[in-house]
């Protein structure tokens, strides 16, 4: 079966229910997931990427269990973390780009050749030997995206891809993402980041509050956020 399927998914973290009773079938090319901080959207993304397994229910990506079929998932799903420092594993750009390819079974020489060709195509051949910690925030985000794209996954999961980037860098990244043919799921607390999607889900305390075309979902989300903001927001404690 194509796309991502969630059937009656429940997930607890540290004894607290984070996701409950999720039933979804995601097949659209551009999908947005909106939610406040702590609504469970990052957890949902990690679940779909197979980084964590549900406590109950079924998760399927292209018909496979993403938490078990790790090898197959490498060509199915790429996940872009919110903080590039949590994603970059290697001291130099070329090693970072090669890692995923080597994990997919290429030899180091093949991986390096592919990564070099990719850098050339992106107009960044001078990045090859650069130290990753010397790159700017936007450059690191872009490096993370390049390492994912090199693995050519059929689907990209993006966790707040524009957070922490200045406006020109946001515009550039956004243009780059728009040009990609992959299915893309973007999570954000910012309605603007998902306005261009075909389908938008609104996640609230681990449940789907609304699901549909961006217009009505974003309008309802915006109205609720304004109402909460006018009241005394964010007073509840964890647990």
């Amino acid at each position: 079966m194509d796309g991502i399927v969630l059937q009656d998914v429940h997930l607890d973290l540290g004894g607290k229910r984070v996701l409950s009773g999720l039933n979804l079938h995601l097949t659209e090319r551009r999908i947005g997931i909106l939610g406040r901080n702590g609504s469970g959207k990052s957890t949902l993304l990690r679940l779909m990427a197979g980084l964590i397994a549900p406590n109950a229910g079924v998760v399927r990506v292209a018909g496979l269990d993403p938490a078990r079929e790790r090898k197959a998932m490498l060509s199915e799903i790429g996940i872009l973390f919110q903080n590039p420092d949590h994603q970059i594993l290697f001291p130099t750009v070329i090693e970072e780009l090669c890692f995923g390819l080597i994990q997919m079974g290429l030899t180091r020489a093949e991986a390096e050749a592919r990564a070099r060709a990719f850098l050339v195509a992106e107009g960044r051949s001078h990045w090859e030997a650069a130290a990753t910690h010397r790159l700017s925030q936007g450059q690191r985000q872009f490096l993370c995206l390049m390492s994912l794209l090199l693995m050519s996954p059929r689907m990209l999961l993006l966790d707040e891809p524009f957070a922490g980037l200045d406006l020109p860098t946001q515009a550039r990244l956004s243009r780059h993402l728009d040009a990609l043919s992959q299915r893309m799921i973007t999570i954000s607390h910012d309605p603007g980041a998902v306005a261009g999607c075909e389908r938008v889900l609104w996640l609230e305390t681990g449940q789907i509050r609304a699901d549909g075309p961006p217009g009505p979902v974003i309008a309802a989300f915006g109205a609720e956020m304004a109402r909460l903001g006018a009241a005394d927001a964010d007073t509840d404690l964890f647990g």
Partner: protein, 199 residues
């Protein structure tokens, strides 16, 4: 370690890393086999010539990298002057200078990825004892990658401390820094898993 590879590209950058490290090992053994100040002086001059072949900018950079050596040179020199053993002192200083300069030369002209590949190859006999060389090379790369990240994190924590305290942070930030490192480690584990694990 990260900044040790020289940004001045010279001929030696194009030599294979294994050859450079092998020559360095042999040369260092050779330096310890020599005992006359004259022979060691010739060896030190040869190393100087090697370094100078990289051009003036490379030579200056190499000499700067020798700076940490000066206190030792001073101590050895003073000691041997006091004991009157001039030739013994010259032997130690020339040997030390030549060995460190040669090691710097190899480091400065070798990319980190190549260095790691050599280490991985050298560790491969450990496979006999059930130790896989790939995870070890990966661990080394991770250490080198995350040292600057952790230093930045520690600096941020100590700035946050000083922003609300008249005192310097000192040892008090060790605990929060350790917890931050554990937190980072979890994210790294996720990132590894997302791209095919450590295997």
């Amino acid at each position: 370690m990260l900044t040790l590879t020289s940004s001045v590209e010279i001929w030696a950058h194009r030599l294979p890393a294994g050859a450079k490290l092998g020559a360095l090992a042999l040369g260092t053994v050779g330096l310890f086999a020599l005992s006359s100040p004259l022979a060691l002086g010739v060896a030190a001059l040869a190393v100087l010539g090697l370094v100078a072949s990289g051009g003036p900018r490379f030579l200056r950079e190499s000499l700067l990298m020798l700076r940490p050596l000066w206190p030792f040179v001073l101590i050895v020199a003073v000691w041997h002057l006091v004991t009157g053993d001039i030739s013994g002192g010259a032997t130690v200083i020339l040997r030390m200078g030549a060995a460190v300069a040669a090691a710097n030369f190899a480091t400065m002209t070798t990319r980190l990825a190549e260095m790691l590949a050599v280490i991985e190859a050298l560790l491969s006999p450990l496979r006999l004892f059930g130790l896989a060389p790939r995870p070890m090379a990966l661990a080394l790369a991770l250490v080198i990658r995350f040292i600057p990240v952790m230093l930045t994190r520690i600096e941020a924590i100590s700035l946050a401390y000083r922003a609300r305290s008249p005192r310097r942070a000192g040892w008090r930030i060790l605990m929060p820094a350790a917890l931050a490192a554990l937190d980072d480690a979890e994210h790294v584990a996720d990132a590894l898993r997302a791209r095919g694990g450590a295997g």
